[in-house]
Each structure stands twice: as structure tokens, then as C-alpha cells.
């Protein structure tokens, strides 16, 4: 009996001692940092493959293992983990909105103490650094960007249909109606995206709003100062509805729009014979198109034109979006990784398959694989009026309600008024800041 107790005592005390020494990330010999870093993001499928290839040289060089966890419900997972005191080391966020919430709670590491700020100022235009800053502190650094509000088309089909590229909204509407009159639906739209379903629709509305009312009102809108029930916002929805709520204008009607994932919604445009002619989406969709149709050539078989002007004053405005990395735990490993993702070398991995535009000035235009992505990169870097994706700037509750509203509107466009007043109810809640 006594021997048993003795053995158990030894076992328990060894366990306690081992625990007390802590689970450290020891540095390996040979100058390699070693250890591991945890990253949380939304990427899956093809974008995850690109991320993994971006990470491979970093892992080889530093010996740091990158543990990536991807979820479309990033909002819930990250919020819970931060609140529980168990955040990931780094998070790849789809926009500054959520990041600002965390920064104000004091959960994010000030990157000016982590990154080489002189190098950052050389590599990034001030606009990018400003977007990643909250109350003067840099908390997020962009790793890839995209241009939103592009309309993708198949040049050969458009030529065969005798259609000219529209430059104003009125031209776009008349072109679409002409195509619809001939019996084919002109647009292919799909908003499904798991827990984030509806975000594609928000991009549409943001572009229409920007070109109708300009960047100042746009900022008021995402800052919560403009009511959803205001005539401006209602007009934007109704303008959009002229396309998406008309079953003769969209392939498959509202059922297709609601049930088709954003990553495959463009397929009707590339069918023979074409089932649709236009697809609204950001620059990153190019890598999706090329993956699904490896034989198609950019510019010849697929191309984009910028969103047509509505108010000539704001014709040159562009909407951009980007993924930024934020740090929750400062460790040698997370420092090494976040420094790596800011480099031109790392961002090239997104550029080469045409999934992203690099905000780093050191990435030369020649790195872009085709004239199409080069064109997009040039538009982004030389834009006069560039605003960020409004829904990504809103607090997450407002953002989620916006997404849901898109779904509800597509299902029942005649209920726009009640949808907008519901959004206003959420707005009263979301911007008060808890």
C-alpha cells in the first residue's frame, strides 16, 4: 500500500514539475527561430493553397511551423477566442472594421514596435498605413489588395452579340435590356458564401453608392451617420434592384443568385452558347476563373471593364479591399511571420496566380502574370479617389445585418422598406459601442 502511494506521489510531482517549466517555444540551434505560430483566417480552397505556398519558403528558412486555421465564420471564432484570452498569434482579417473593435479593446499589438517602420514607409503608400491604423497606432498591415467593382465579360461573346462596352450606368442598363430582349439573361450573380452569404451584394451597393454620392457621403454611410431608410440609400438599393430583382436580367432568377457560391457564379458567362454576358466581381476572381477554365486566356477570352459612371463627378472613383494581418501575441515567431508577409517576396505569391494586388511598392508590374492583372494593379495604385470596402469598415454586427439584408432583398425585393428599417434598428445598436 505504501509503495503504491510512493509511486503515485512520484508520478504526480513529475507531472507538476514538467508543467511548471512551461510549454516554451525554444529556439533551435543554427540560427533558426523554430517553434510555431498560429494564424486564423477565412481562406479555404484555392486561396488556402496559395497561402500555403506563400508560407513554405518562410517555414524552410526560419524553421517556424505555421498553423493556419480557416473559417468563413471568422467573426465569431476570433471574437470568442479573444474574449476567452486565447487569441491566435496572428489573424488575417478581411477588413479594418473588426480590427478597429479589437484595437479599441486593447487586444492588438502595436505594430510599430514589431515591424521596421522605416521599411514600411518605403514599401507602402501612406494610405495603406492609415487604413491599418486605429487612433494613430498601426495595428494591421495589408498583405494583398483587390480592386472591387469590376465587370467581367467574355470579349468574344460580347463581340458576337454586337455589344459595346458601356461607360455610363444608363448605357449599361440599355445594353442589358437589349440583350434581355434577345432572350438571354445579361447578368450572372451569386451571393452564397456560407456564414458570410450576401457579401457580393454589398460590393454592388457600395459601388453604386460611391458613384452616385461620392466619397464623403460614402464615409458617412459606413460610419453610421447616414440612415439606411434615407432616400439616398433607398435609391441605391432600387437602382441595384433594376438588375438583380428582374428575372429577365439575371441568370436563374433569384433562386440562382441566392444559392450559388460566389466562386462559381461566373460560369454562365463562359458557357457555349453563353447564358449570361456580365459578371460583377473583384480582381481576385481571375484566379478562380483560371482555375476552372485553364484554357482561357486573359484579355482574349475574359476581360473586365470598370464600373460605369453614374455621376460624372465621381467617375474615376474606385473601391478597394484588402486582407490585413493583425497581431494578438508578440512572440519571436509571430514577429518573424508578420515581417515576412509584408515583403514583396511573400506578396508575389498572391500576385502570380492573379489572386491579389500587392500594396507593396517593391513588387514590379512585371510580376503580374498578364496584362489584365497589370491593368488592375495600375488602376489601383493610380486611382484619384480610392475608398475602402464600406461593409468591411462597419462594425461586425452592422456588417452581418447588411449581408442578411442582401439575402432578404433578393428573396423579396418588394419588402425593401421593412428590410431598410430593420437595418436602421441594427444601426442604432451597432454603432453605440458596447
Amino acid at each position: 500500500m505504501r509503495r503504491l502511494v510512493l509511486i503515485l506521489f512520484v508520478l504526480l510531482s513529475t507531472g507538476a514539475l514538467l508543467f511548471a517549466t512551461g510549454s516554451g517555444e525554444s529556439t533551435q540551434a543554427g540560427g533558426k527561430v523554430g517553434g510555431s505560430v498560429s494564424v486564423l483566417g477565412v481562406w479555404g480552397g484555392q486561396e488556402l493553397d496559395i497561402f500555403n505556398s506563400m508560407v513554405a519558403p518562410f517555414q524552410d528558412r526560419t524553421g517556424v511551423k505555421v498553423e493556419f486555421e480557416g473559417t468563413r465564420d471568422l467573426d465569431a471564432v476570433l471574437t470568442t477566442r479573444v474574449a476567452a484570452g486565447n487569441p491566435p498569434d496572428l489573424a488575417a482579417l478581411p477588413g479594418p472594421g473588426k480590427m478597429a473593435e479589437f484595437a479599441r479593446q486593447g487586444k492588438m499589438v502595436d505594430l510599430s514596435g514589431v515591424l521596421d517602420m522605416a521599411a514600411m514607409k518605403k514599401a507602402y503608400a501612406q494610405g495603406w498605413l492609415d487604413l491599418g491604423s486605429v487612433d494613430g497606432k498601426l495595428v494591421g498591415i495589408f498583405t494583398k489588395a483587390s480592386l472591387k467593382g469590376l465587370i467581367w465579360y467574355n470579349p468574344k461573346n460580347l463581340k458576337a452579340a454586337g455589344v459595346q462596352i458601356p461607360t455610363t450606368w444608363d448605357q449599361l442598363m440599355s445594353t442589358s435590356q437589349a440583350i434581355a430582349a434577345k432572350g438571354t439573361t445579361p447578368w450572372a450573380v451569386g451571393v452564397e458564401s456560407g456564414a458570410a452569404s450576401g457579401w457580393t451584394g454589398t460590393d454592388w451597393l457600395e459601388n453604386i453608392f460611391l458613384r452616385m454620392y461620392g466619397p464623403a457621403k460614402y464615409k458617412d454611410w459606413y460610419d453610421g451617420k447616414l440612415a439606411w431608410t434615407s432616400p439616398e440609400v433607398k435609391t441605391v438599393w432600387q437602382t441595384w434592384g433594376k438588375i438583380v430583382a428582374d428575372p429577365k436580367m439575371v441568370y436563374g432568377g433569384s433562386q440562382y443568385e441566392l444559392s450559388t457560391n460566389f466562386g462559381t457564379a461566373f460560369t454562365p458567362v463562359f458557357q457555349t452558347p453563353p447564358a449570361a454576358y456580365f459578371h460583377f466581381q473583384a480582381t481576385f476572381i481571375q484566379s478562380f476563373i483560371q482555375k476552372q477554365y485553364p484554357d482561357l486566356k486573359p484579355v482574349d477570352d475574359f476581360n473586365f471593364f470598370g464600373f460605369p459612371a453614374i455621376n460624372q463627378q465621381y467617375a474615376k472613383a474606385v473601391e478597394i479591399a484588402g486582407d490585413l494581418f493583425g497581431m494578438f501575441k508578440k512572440t519571436p515567431q509571430s514577429t518573424a511571420f508578420i515581417t515576412y508577409v509584408t515583403t514583396a517576396e511573400a506578396q508575389d505569391f498572391w500576385v502570380k496566380p492573379a489572386n491579389g494586388i500587392s500594396p507593396n511598392r517593391a513588387v514590379p508590374l512585371s510580376d503580374y502574370p498578364d496584362p489584365l492583372s497589370k491593368n488592375a494593379a495600375q488602376i489601383l495604385t493610380s486611382a484619384d479617389i480610392a475608398v475602402f470596402d464600406a461593409s468591411d469598415m462597419m462594425p461586425s454586427k452592422m456588417n452581418a445585418a447588411f449581408w442578411s439584408a442582401i439575402m432578404s432583398y433578393l428573396a423579396n425585393p418588394d419588402q425593401l422598406d421593412s428590410i431598410l428599417s430593420d437595418l436602421d434598428k441594427v444601426r442604432a445598436d451597432a454603432y453605440s459601442g458596447s
Partner: protein
């Protein structure tokens, strides 16, 4: 590695600590005298279990109920505001309506289908094979079922190749059928989700009801047949009444399951387009919006909804039901 060591410590430590406690209690009892022993002993032995219950069950319940009367970040009391919101906001009323629809449809259809299959397979040679096949969905999680059925319900417009199984089958059987976006059509999506739930649980109902069915003595049924009763009469007048308690067991288990339904809704539609249920809403309020007051109110409502079922269950066990 550290976690493995801690696991071993826990596995060895818990029985040791409990054993040590029991020994200590017995040793103390021997010293105290026989009068105290009889009445006190059961309470002392049960004490560890009671402590665990109090810490992990009673305290969280009371705490949640208390939180439901506070505001979003639990800083100030708002009395019944959270409950008023849940019972008056139009979107919340849809959530409550959905749970009611789930409750009624899921329970009834599963029980009836389970009973039907149990009775029909009872006298067939390939009974075991059919039962195994129907029970198979119970082996997977609701999330896996959700993912499978999401593929099955996929939509392509009429004329295009149908990739969703349901649309494909209907299109090939009924030539004038137009494919439907089952999950995204407000009149169909709740039904579509409930079908997934039924598909998963019909095996459970069938197995339990089949056991109950086989418990009815064959001599009773033989006697009824000799007396000239038709099969339908036998079913409704003999089998059904004798199976009453089994049916109640199955029904209460199903009700308890359906009130908590979350995974199917979350995976397939995320509550969009009027398919939201209480558990999904509670998740969103808690983890996305960090509104602890409202999330707690939802939890309390679920608790109150389940109490009648629990009372029914416990009463029957008390009466010595099967």
C-alpha cells in the same frame, strides 16, 4: 506531450482522490458512533456528486438567468427588456415560430415514420438489412448531415445540368418539374431542413419502437386474428395502446433533441431567409454580437420550454414506467 502527462495524472488522480475521500468518511464515521451513521452516510457519499452538480449545473443556470436581466455587456440591469425584445420583435417571432414548426413536424413525422417502418419490417425476411440502412444516418453528426444535404439540395436553373440530387431525381421522374432552390425559397427552406433532421433520427425512433413492438406477445395478436380482426384493427386497437409508453419515450427524446436544433440550420442556411432557430440566434448573439443579456434570455427560454418535458419524463420514471 505535457497534455498527455496531465491526462494521465487526471485519470489516475480522480479515482484516487474520490477513494481517499470515501476512506476518510468511513474512518470518521467509525469514530462518531452508530446513531449518526445510518442517516448521514448516504449524504456524505453523495456529497462529491452534489458539489460537481452545484458547480457545473446549478451555478451556471442561476448565473445565466441572472445575466438575462442585465444588458449586453452585463454592466447594468435592464429588467425584462431582453425578454420583451424576443417576444415582440418581428424577426424574433419568426425564430420562435420556426422552433414551433420544427417541434411539431419533426416529432410527429419521425414517430409516425419510425412506427410505420418498425411495423412493416417486423414480418419481413430482410428486416435486419433495412433497419441497418435506415439507422445508418444516426452514426454521423448533424454537421455532416448538413453538408451532405446541402449538396443534395443544390440548384441549377431549368435546362442546365442538375447537380443537386433532389432536383435531378425530380426532374427525371416528372418531366414538367422546374428545379427549386430548396434552401433559399422561403416557402420550402424550413421543410427542407426538417427533412434532414427527420432523415437523421428516424432510425432511432424505428429501433426503439421496433423493440417495443417485439415486446407485445404474439399470442395476443394471434388471438385477435383468429377472432377475425383485420390488420388495421389490430394495429390501432391492440398494438398502438400497448406501445403507448414506448412511443412517449421516443417522443420525449425527440422533443428534447429538436428544441436544441442548431447544427443543421447553421451549416445549411446560417439562419438566413426565415430559417433561424433559437439555438442559432443564441450563438450569434453570444459569439458574434457579444450581447450576453440577450443570449442568456434565449438560453432561459429554451430551459423553460424543456421543463414540462422533463417533468413528464421524471414522473413516469417515478411511477415505474418502462
Amino acid at each position: 506531450m505535457i497534455n498527455l502527462l496531465w491526462a494521465l495524472v487526471a485519470v489516475a488522480g480522480v479515482p484516487l482522490v474520490l477513494g481517499g475521500y470515501i476512506f476518510a468518511v468511513e474512518a470518521a464515521m467509525k469514530r462518531s458512533g452508530s446513531r449518526a451513521r445510518g442517516g448521514l452516510r448516504p449524504w456524505l457519499w453523495l456529497a462529491p456528486a452534489f458539489v460537481l452538480l452545484a458547480v457545473f449545473l446549478i451555478y451556471p443556470t442561476v448565473s445565466t438567468a441572472a445575466l438575462s436581466f442585465l444588458n449586453a455587456n452585463s454592466a447594468k440591469p435592464v429588467s425584462f427588456a431582453n425578454y420583451t425584445y424576443i417576444f415582440t420583435d418581428s424577426n424574433m417571432l419568426i425564430v420562435l415560430r420556426n422552433n414551433l414548426v420544427w417541434l411539431v413536424l419533426f416529432t410527429f413525422v419521425t414517430v409516425i415514420l419510425g412506427l410505420l417502418i418498425a411495423v412493416l419490417t417486423d414480418r419481413v425476411r430482410y428486416e435486419r438489412a433495412v433497419k441497418a440502412l435506415i439507422f445508418l444516418p444516426m452514426a454521423i453528426s448533424f454537421v455532416a448531415a448538413g453538408v451532405i444535404w446541402k449538396f443534395m439540395y443544390q440548384y441549377q436553373p431549368a435546362g442546365a445540368a442538375q447537380v443537386g440530387t433532389v432536383n435531378a431525381i425530380f426532374s427525371s421522374i416528372f418531366p414538367r418539374f422546374t428545379p427549386q432552390a430548396w434552401l433559399f425559397n422561403k416557402s420550402q427552406n424550413n421543410g427542407a431542413l426538417i427533412i434532414v433532421g427527420i432523415w437523421m433520427w428516424v432510425g432511432f425512433a424505428m429501433v426503439i419502437l421496433s423493440a417495443g413492438l417485439k415486446g407485445i406477445s404474439t399470442s395476443l395478436i394471434e388471438a385477435a386474428r383468429i377472432d377475425g380482426a383485420r390488420e388495421g384493427r389490430i394495429f390501432f386497437s391492440i398494438i398502438l395502446p400497448l406501445m403507448r409508453s414506448t412511443i412517449i419515450v421516443v417522443a420525449t427524446t425527440l422533443i428534447i433533441t429538436v428544441l436544441k436544433i442548431f447544427d443543421v440550420v447553421y451549416v445549411m442556411t446560417n439562419g438566413n431567409l426565415d430559417t433561424d432557430v433559437i439555438a442559432n440566434r443564441m450563438y450569434k448573439e453570444m459569439f458574434n454580437y457579444q450581447n450576453f443579456g440577450r443570449a442568456s434570455a434565449f438560453a432561459v427560454i429554451l430551459l423553460l420550454a424543456i421543463i414540462p418535458v422533463m417533468v413528464l419524463n421524471i414522473r413516469r420514471f417515478g411511477r415505474g414506467g418502462s
